[in-house]
């Protein structure tokens, strides 16, 4: 299987007052194309840190993170930003939509940054994505006019609009009620199936884990268990 993400002996330490907290300890991990992986573990186990490393929004203290075989830890800010723009999609726990932009504009934003598509192409892609997440009718709404579930759908559409190879979702259901959370998970699974997009998301919600094909359990910055579940895939 083609490795989308590979971590080689990745450690991450944070200073915390006079102490140093070790969030990741020499972690090795490989995630293949089209995987639907859950990173699970209790609070403070290092889930978010792991996602930050994979998402190239933070650099490891030691070790190397490879995205599609390309080492990233020595990249300059500009290059790393470009890599995020073209290869990665982000779904945040708090949705993180830009409040002054409409749903449509939020989704269009990464395409504008890429600057590769014409106005008509962008518009078509944005509509397609919003249809996909079931929000075709809400294009002109601003985030504060939408419900939590609707916002997260917009966020998913934004994460997918640039056709990223890897989508990172950090506790995507944490701020949603159970039913909405499950709908969102179903939506991500559907996209994973239909587009072969690699999904990596962190959660400590057992109901979410039920839907994962692979669960990586982390405790104290180390992988404690890495299981492939046949159930839902």
């Amino acid at each position: 299987m083609e490795a989308m993400v590979e971590l080689r002996k990745v450690s991450k330490e944070y200073p915390l007052g006079k102490l140093t907290v070790r969030a990741l300890a020499e972690m090795d991990l490989c995630i293949g194309k089209g995987e639907f992986t859950v990173v699970a573990g209790p609070s403070g186990s290092g889930k978010t840190t792991l996602l930050n490393m994979v998402g190239c929004v933070d650099v490891p203290s030691s070790g190397e993170v490879l995205i599609e075989g390309q080492p990233t830890s020595r990249l300059k800010d500009r290059a790393r930003t470009k890599l995020r723009l073209h290869k990665l999609g982000f779904i945040f726990q708090t949705f993180n939509l830009i409040p002054v932009l409409t749903a449509e504009q939020n989704v269009e934003f990464p395409l504008l940054l890429q600057g590769e598509l014409s106005r008509a192409e962008r518009r078509a892609r944005v509509r397609e994505m919003l249809e996909l997440v079931g929000l075709g009718a809400l294009v002109r709404q601003r985030p504060n006019e939408m419900s939590g579930g609707q916002r997260q759908r917009v966020a998913i559409a934004r994460a997918l609009v640039s056709l990223p190879h890897i989508v990172l979702a950090d506790e995507p259901t944490a701020n949603l009620d159970t039913a909405t959370g499950l709908t969102i998970i179903e939506l991500m699974k559907k996209l994973n199936r239909e587009r072969q997009t690699t999904f990596i998301f962190s959660t400590h919600d057992p109901r979410v884990m039920e839907h994962a094909r692979r669960i990586v359990r982390i405790v104290d910055g180390r992988i404690e268990g890495d299981a492939t579940c046949g159930g839902s895939a």
Binding site: R84, F90, G115, R119
Partner: protein, 692 residues
Amino acid sequence: MGTLRLLAAMAWRNLWSHKGKNILVGILMLFGTFLVVLGTSVLDSIDQAMTRSITQSVAGHLQVYSKNARDPLALYGSGYMGADDLGVMPDFARVKAVVSAVPGVRAVIPMGMDAFEIYTATELDYAIERLRKALEAGEQARVDDVARRIRAMATLLREELERRKLLLSNHAEIDRQLAIIDRVRGDAFWAELPAAPLAGVEYLDTQLAPLVDENEGYFLQVLGTDVQRFAQSFGQFELVSGQMIPEGERGVLLNQKYYDDYLRNMVARGFDARRRDIEEKGKRFADDPLMRAKVERMVRQYRRVTFQLEPAQAEELAAKLRAFLPGAQGSIDELVQQFLRLDDQNFAARYEFFFDEIAPRIRLYLFNVGETLTVRAFTRSGMIKSANVKVWGTFRFKGLEKSELAGGHNLMDMMTFRDLYGLMTADKRAELAGIQAEVGLKDVGRDSAEAELFGGGAAVEQQREQAQGFDEFAGVALGGRERAQANGHFDPALLDQGMAINAAIILDDIARLEEARGAVQAALDQAGLDVQVVDWETASGIIGQVVVLVRVVLYIAIGIIFLVALVIINNTMVMATMERVMEIGTMRAIGAQASLVRWLLLLETLMLGLLSGALGAALGYWLVSSLGTSGIPAPADELIFLFAGPRLFPAAGLGNVLAGFAAIVVVSLLAILYPATIATRIQPVVAMSPRE
């Protein structure tokens, strides 16, 4: 393009999402731009007005004067007491030839400034003169009337001397003077008069008249120049009364402002001053103690009117005053005193009566156009020189009628000026050497020097007596060797021959001032002349600095406003950035470069700046334009000069509006510098969940 549009939309919406703060910042920026447009427009207009005032009244575009000057040239005074030492340019003709050859120079006008004393007749002189005429005509009634007046004056003089006696230990001189006065007051003198009228008048002329203090010391600020060329070259020059000094004639043209302010009858001046107080300053006698005090002073000056009246005129006026002032009684003196007691109710009618009935019967000015006055100067060589100069007319600088500064110069022909300035010219030196050779005088020793000095003093005394024993001045021979040739014609070609203290240069094009200045200086240096060139602004002395000062004050005010705006904008943007850490982090995480974040903040501030700047500039432009139609009245007479007239008509140019915009853009950019740096440092990781 799409990114820019999105950024603009984001910036625009961000502005609205922080409405309160941004409106405050906007108002501040609006006010700043408004002030820049208004302030620079008004200042530019003052600059232009003052340029007109100065260049077209006295200074011209450039001024040249000696490099040996100890003080800088200050055409409107240096602000210090005393006369400036400007050196001289001994050979003006040479300077003129060199300067005129420089391309772009239209005219070179010789000048020199100095202050001379002027002598005029006193009331007693006039009375003695009237007595002489009455005696000649044999009109006994007039003789008696004038005699009564002269005796009254003698009595007043006696009172004054008695007071003076109390202060002095040596009474001999005063007693001698008192004896003269008492003789004139006594009946015997007047009884003898018909028998020997000439001796009597001469006694009054030579003995009594010198006891009267001269009229208050009048100083005449003089600008010696080629008056003809001056009038042609300075656009603001305008003859008010009389005539231009004919070519080749000596004489003065008085500044109308000086003529009205210093030489006019004090009672007439008082009436006009009170009228200005009432009409222009809105004052009332009832409310203003100073105005009432001035009325009291005016009442005491009644003699300035009554002493001038012939007996018949006095009778006539007394009758009119009795009719005008119901119930008024007494002599003409008492009637005039009552008439001068002005208040709010009677002012308008009395003002009219004064100028209709009284003014035509008296001399309104110390001397009239057409008369000749005696001017005395302490020359640079230490001698005292006098000249009788004819007053040909009065002039003004258009628009600057009320300006004290523009009123400071009276024009005198250059020939007389040179005589009075008294510098030895090459010609004079040669002439003097000739005289010395003729009389066999080789050297002046210590003893003979003293004799010379005493001789000179005697000449002055004699001169002074003659000046007072005048007969319409004309034809009076002045005593002393140092007298200048008065009222003599001269060859106009001589105007350029001889010295000048400074000279005005008129250029074809004021825009090329600096270039011309350099060219003129180079030409003078090449010709080996010790002459320096300054532009009109420098030459105007302290006045030129006023506008610079006003400009500095305005810039400081604008600077402070923008500094406050800068601090507030900076603060607001820092806070806005802090509030948007998550948003900015998210943008960075999904692939926005740091530069995009910087652009976003920049765009926000620029939008706010340009929007409020446009409003401020529009407001400033509108205000300046409406002021340009109505004019800004000069709040004080001193400002008339700066405004080149009683009102300033400012105009806003594109430059002023652009200056406003430039200022606001600079302020916006400076204000955003720090918040933008903070914003670009926000890491994408902040968008993720809080660290576990």
